[in-house]
């Protein structure tokens, strides 16, 4: 089992980041996502927008990984549930794979909130739990996948803003914290104090795992 987490600070206010996040694909820097569909969307009694989406992706797994997994099929499907609270200014997104599940399980959780120190900035907390099942090279594959997720996350972060701002910007400027390296450490400290970060790998695993597993029941419900 591999656990991966990161915090990132965007130099943009929450509204701008959320608009970009909702339109994250297509992303020429991360062409792995080849299809996105909305399966359900509604506003709940508390004014929060729920969306259930189906993503089709080409993992771009190294061919060694494909050979070990014993599958030549590279198109995989992912279910995603997001909740946007415009009053509390929080967007939470959970996703889990629904194919290749006897081989690998990837549960991801993303939370976007305003920067606690500066409302012109936004914090993204991202967590993923990756489990490769029943293979002796399991932890090696998990590391490869975690690296893929990490580099895809960086690409996603950069390009979505190029689109929203409607002008050419160097995506690398947007995706690297730059002078906000200190800001990131400060944010982490603050988030830890407010118990918004998981305090242990076990807690992180629990949160990301529960997030992904709940999706299965919801989708069963939606289509029955």
């Amino acid at each position: 089992m591999k656990i991966w987490s990161s915090e990132h600070v965007f130099g943009h206010p929450w509204d701008t980041v959320i608009k970009a996040a909702m339109r994250k694909y297509p992303n020429p820097m991360n062409p792995g996502v080849v299809g996105v569909d909305v399966l359900e969307r509604s506003v709940d009694g508390r004014g929060r927008l729920h969306s259930h989406r189906l993503l089709s992706t080409e993992w771009g797994l190294p061919s060694l990984v494909k050979a070990i997994l014993g599958t030549s099929r590279t198109l995989t499907y992912i279910k995603e549930h997001s909740v946007v609270d415009p009053v509390e200014k929080k967007m939470e997104l959970c996703s889990t794979n629904i194919t290749l599940t006897n081989l690998v399980s990837v549960n991801e959780r993303l939370v976007y909130t305003p920067h606690p120190e500066n409302p012109e900035m936004t914090v993204l907390q991202q967590e993923a739990v990756i489990t490769v099942k029943g293979l002796s090279l399991g932890s090696y594959l998990e590391s490869l996948m975690a690296n893929t997720i990490s580099s895809n996350a960086k690409k996603d972060l950069g390009v979505s803003f190029v689109e929203v701002r409607g002008k050419r910007m160097d995506p690398r400027r947007l995706s690297s914290p730059g002078s906000w390296v200190e800001g990131s450490a400060l944010v982490r400290q603050r988030l830890l104090m407010e118990s918004r970060l998981p305090s242990s790998p076990a807690e992180l695993m629990e949160r990301a795992w529960m997030c992904g597993r709940k999706l299965l029941y919801k989708f069963k419900e939606l289509l029955s």
């Binding site: 506003v43 927008l49 189906l54 415009p86 629904i98 989708f219």
Partner: protein
């Protein structure tokens, strides 16, 4: 961006445009009531549900791959 069902891509794009506008101009500004995209969404949905069934995408459960395909337990 394409839809999972090739035939649904145009409907999807129409719906997405409508949604993105409503999301940015109404929902995020505190006006979540009223959804101008319902009709577009219904048509798009019908197409997607059909594509999911045709492609046998395992929305309801889990799909197993490799080393002898196992049938997932069916509870419905």
């Amino acid at each position: 961006m394409n839809s999972v069902g090739e035939a649904c891509t145009d409907m999807k794009r129409e719906y997405d445009q409508c949604f993105n506008r409503w999301f940015a101009e109404k929902f995020l500004k505190g006006d979540g009531s009223g959804d101008p995209c319902t009709d577009l969404f219904k048509r798009y949905q019908q197409c997607v549900q059909k594509a999911i069934k045709e492609k046998e995408i395992p929305i309801e459960g889990l799909e197993f791959m490799g080393r002898g395909k196992e049938k997932p337990e069916s509870s419905s």
